[in-house]
């Protein structure tokens, strides 16, 4: 949303410039998430309590130990794989959106990137045991 809000000041200099601008902005968002807490709910409305006093949904679903292993495994992945995993699994981008973000030529190429990253991630998680 912040990216879209800044579109008013964006000057289109060449074909594909808008796409490149959006891609860079979204990749920066993904990288910020990689650096921060990936288990934190996104765009959480600020009522008085986030997560209350209970475990997060993710912890509840898979247990805290698995969440930590997941995070550590993602940290060990190459940057491109991290972006594919977070973009598809956490941000729930469609393959078409992911293709723009990852700079892939087609949604199929983005899907292939996701499946490869998942395979590597599962191996990392297993070896992190």
């Amino acid at each position: 949303m912040a990216t879209i809000a800044r579109l008013g000041s964006f000057e289109v200099r060449h074909q594909g410039a808008l796409q490149a601008y959006l891609r860079t902005a979204i990749l920066n968002q993904i990288r910020d998430l990689v650096r921060q807490q990936r288990r934190r709910p996104l765009m959480t409305a600020l009522h008085d309590t986030v997560a209350d006093q209970q475990p997060s949904p993710l912890e509840l679903a898979i247990g805290n130990e698995n969440v930590e292993r997941y995070e550590a495994a993602v940290d060990r992945l190459p940057q491109a794989d991290q972006e594919a995993i977070i973009g598809r699994l956490e941000l729930q981008y469609s393959y078409a959106e992911l293709a723009v973000v990852l700079g892939k030529p087609s949604p199929d190429a983005a899907r292939m990137a996701v499946t490869r990253a998942l395979k590597r991630l599962a191996t990392e998680m297993r070896h992190g045991a």
Binding site: T44, D48, Q53, L60, Q92, R111, T115
Partner: protein, 639 residues
């Protein structure tokens, strides 16, 4: 990928968000390696499902909701819990409910927090046990008392003191904002509770208005230790974001572990909220809030409530310092500071007349001494310039008079600046109302000020110091010829000074005198305006300028006043008794015993002579005249 490649099927299912039959795939796995890999893929599938369900929540709901754990079954009702009879449900969450229960053995009501039946997670049981252990170690009147942790079947429950009353949040809703005294009392009790909690080695992590109860007797009780953790770090997960965002310290939002200082920050937010109804840092989402902290978008307490006492604002502001090292070092220290406010107010009520009398006496005494000192400097210059130190008999009374005279101009200047600033502020407010676009410009200017760090009191003070030194140096440089002459006049005095130097004192050069005064008057106005900014900022932020800055400001202002005033008497009030001595016009500078000291402009230096009062060649002229208006010391050439 081969159709019977179970790993590929699992990966495709996860990537596409499709349902995966894990049991079937596990059955088809050809090796232990494949089965182990599938297990981890299953974990990834569940991660993807959680995020998908989160996004479905946002997509399907116009107003984003708090992401919470799945709600328990609607019909999770209990009537008994071991020996306790559950009277009524006080509240329910996703994992458990709190009941008012009757203990038939001790014949009293208690509160029991019971996990839902469907929640079989061992970690949650451990969490409840942890809460119980934490509370059991803290025995304090302001901390909810725990009686024990009990299991009934496969459920676990925490038995606690039943606090009958309402939360401070409820008090705020029903009664409106608290006065600063009431808020300070609440803050004191919460600090007492936290001091006990911290002393037991725990950190609360969720101090907020909803977790502070006021019972029917008015006692404040800190509740809900479910988010607390062992400060020694036993089960600490630094990246756990637990608590209430508006109350979270900036370092906790950044991922640092909670600490004593973050609990103190939360108390600061609590008190701030109680007197304003708002929060020091606000944001529509968690990311907004983090961004607001990073870019320093916070509202000082005195900005929202300028009517609050500065001492109170200072206590709260220190608790809210972005740097944990700058906050109160402990809950006890903050408690003492809040108690000091109350004691100050109480003693003020009881002995206010004594305090007023003492303050008044100190003010009068200090002011008198200051005026005398100022008058002494003024008179000293005048007497040295005329060479009449041993022929005058000025005392404290005279110095007081000359000091008061010297202060008239600076006081008028300060008042002019304050009035001017007030008029400007009113004018700006009116302008912004009539011109809405101006608000945008002002906001942009404010952001620019913050970006350059000019919202920091010390930075602005340093800028004011440099600017005022530049102004003073500039004024001195501009008036260097006049300053040189004025200094030459006291080296040693008018008796031996060249005629050209004496001419500066004549009325022919009154224009230069006025120019001198105007220049230092404007310099004074600019300096007062410059220093008004950091003092005002400090007042709004509940701070004070450092001692060094206050001293520097006072020194610069004092020097400017002295430069403005010290030649005043010589230039404007040198009217002396005129006499005729040996056919020459002379002027009486002073007297001592039977002698006069006279200044004779027509004589070759030394022009000062001692003459007997009863000398036959001395004749009094019945007028007071300016000795430097004499024709012989008003040459055509400028000095």
């Amino acid at each position: 990928m081969a159709p019977d490649d179970v790993l590929a099927q699992a990966i495709d299912g996860i990537a596409d968000g499709a349902d995966v039959n894990w049991r079937l795939l596990q059955g088809r796995a050809r090796s232990d390696d494949e089965r182990a890999e599938l297990r981890w893929l299953q974990v990834l599938g569940r991660i993807a499902n959680v995020h998908r369900s989160t996004h479905d929540e946002f997509d399907g709901d116009a107003s984003p909701t708090t992401v919470a754990a799945p709600a328990g079954p609607a019909a999770d009702t209990l009537e008994n819990w071991g020996r306790y009879r559950l009277v009524r449900k006080l509240g329910a969450g996703s994992f458990g409910s709190v009941y008012c229960a009757w203990d038939p053995q001790l014949e009293r009501n208690i509160a029991i927090k019971i996990l839902h039946e469907h929640v079989a997670d061992d970690r949650l049981r451990q969490r409840l046990l942890r809460e119980g252990r934490a509370l059991a170690k803290v025995q304090h009147a302001n901390v909810v008392q725990v009686f024990g942790v009990e299991a009934d079947g496969n459920r676990v429950g925490l038995c606690m003191e039943l606090v009958s009353g309402e939360t401070i949040a409820g008090v705020l809703r029903s009664h409106g904002l608290l006065s600063h005294r009431e808020a300070a009392v609440v803050g004191e009790d919460v600090c007492r509770a936290l001091a006990a909690v911290h002393a037991a080695g725990y950190v609360h992590r969720d101090v907020k208005a909803q977790n502070v109860m006021r019972d029917k007797a008015g006692k404040i009780v800190l509740m809900d230790f479910g988010t607390g953790h062992d400060a020694a770090g036993g089960d600490r997960r630094p990246r756990d974001l637990v608590g209430t965002p508006a109350y979270m310290a900036p370092e906790v939002l950044e991922g640092q572990p909670a600490s004593v200082q973050s609990d103190i920050y939360a108390v600061g937010v609590l008190i701030y909220h109680l007197v304003t109804g708002q929060y020091p840092v606000e944001g529509g989402t968690l990311l907004d809030l983090i961004d607001a902290h990073k870019s320093g978008r916070r509202r000082a307490l005195l900005e929202r409530r300028p009517d609050l006492p500065m001492t109170f604002a200072h206590v709260v502001s220190r608790a809210l310092a972005p740097n944990p090292a700058e906050r109160w070092p402990s809950a006890g220290a903050m408690l003492e500071a809040l108690g000091g406010l109350r004691d100050g107010a109480r003693s003020a009520d009881t002995f206010s007349w004594v305090r007023t009398a003492l303050r008044g006496t100190a003010l009068v005494a200090g002011g008198t001494i200051g005026l005398i000192a100022l008058g002494m400097v003024n008179s000293r210059y005048f007497n040295v310039a005329l060479g009449r130190e041993t022929f005058t008999a000025e005392g404290p009374g005279d110095w007081l008079y000359w000091g008061a005279v010297s202060l008239v101009a600076p006081v008028v200047l300060v008042l002019m600046v304050l009035i001017g600033v007030s008029v400007l502020r009113v004018g700006l407010r009116v302008l912004l109302r009539l011109w809405p676009r101006g608000v945008t410009i002002v906001s942009a200017l404010t952001d620019t000020v913050r970006r350059f760090g000019l919202d920091d009191v010390e930075t602005v003070s340093a800028c004011a110091l440099v600017a005022s030194a530049a102004v003073l140096a500039g004024a001195c440089w501009f008036l260097l010829p006049d300053l040189a002459i004025l200094l030459e006049l006291i080296n040693p005095n008018v008796s031996t000074a060249p005629v050209e130097t004496l001419a500066y004192l004549s009325p022919r050069f009154s224009g230069r005198h006025e120019n001198y005064r105007l220049s230092f008057e404007w310099a004074s106005i600019i300096l007062v305006a410059l220093w008004w900014v950091p003092f005002r900022m400090a007042a709004l932020q509940g701070q004070r300028l450092s001692g060094g800055m206050q001293t520097a400001a006072a020194a610069i202002l004092l020097l400017t006043i002295l430069l403005l005033d010290f030649p005043y008497r010589l230039l404007y009030q040198a009217e002396l008794d005129a006499v005729e001595w040996r056919g020459r016009r002379c002027y009486v500078l002073g007297e001592r015993n039977a002698d006069y000291l006279v200044f004779c402009p027509d004589l070759e230096p030394p022009r000062n002579r001692v003459v007997k009062k009863d000398a036959s060649d001395l004749e009094h002229v019945a007028t007071k005249m300016n000795p430097f208006g004499h024709a012989s010391i008003s040459p055509t050439e400028r000095p």
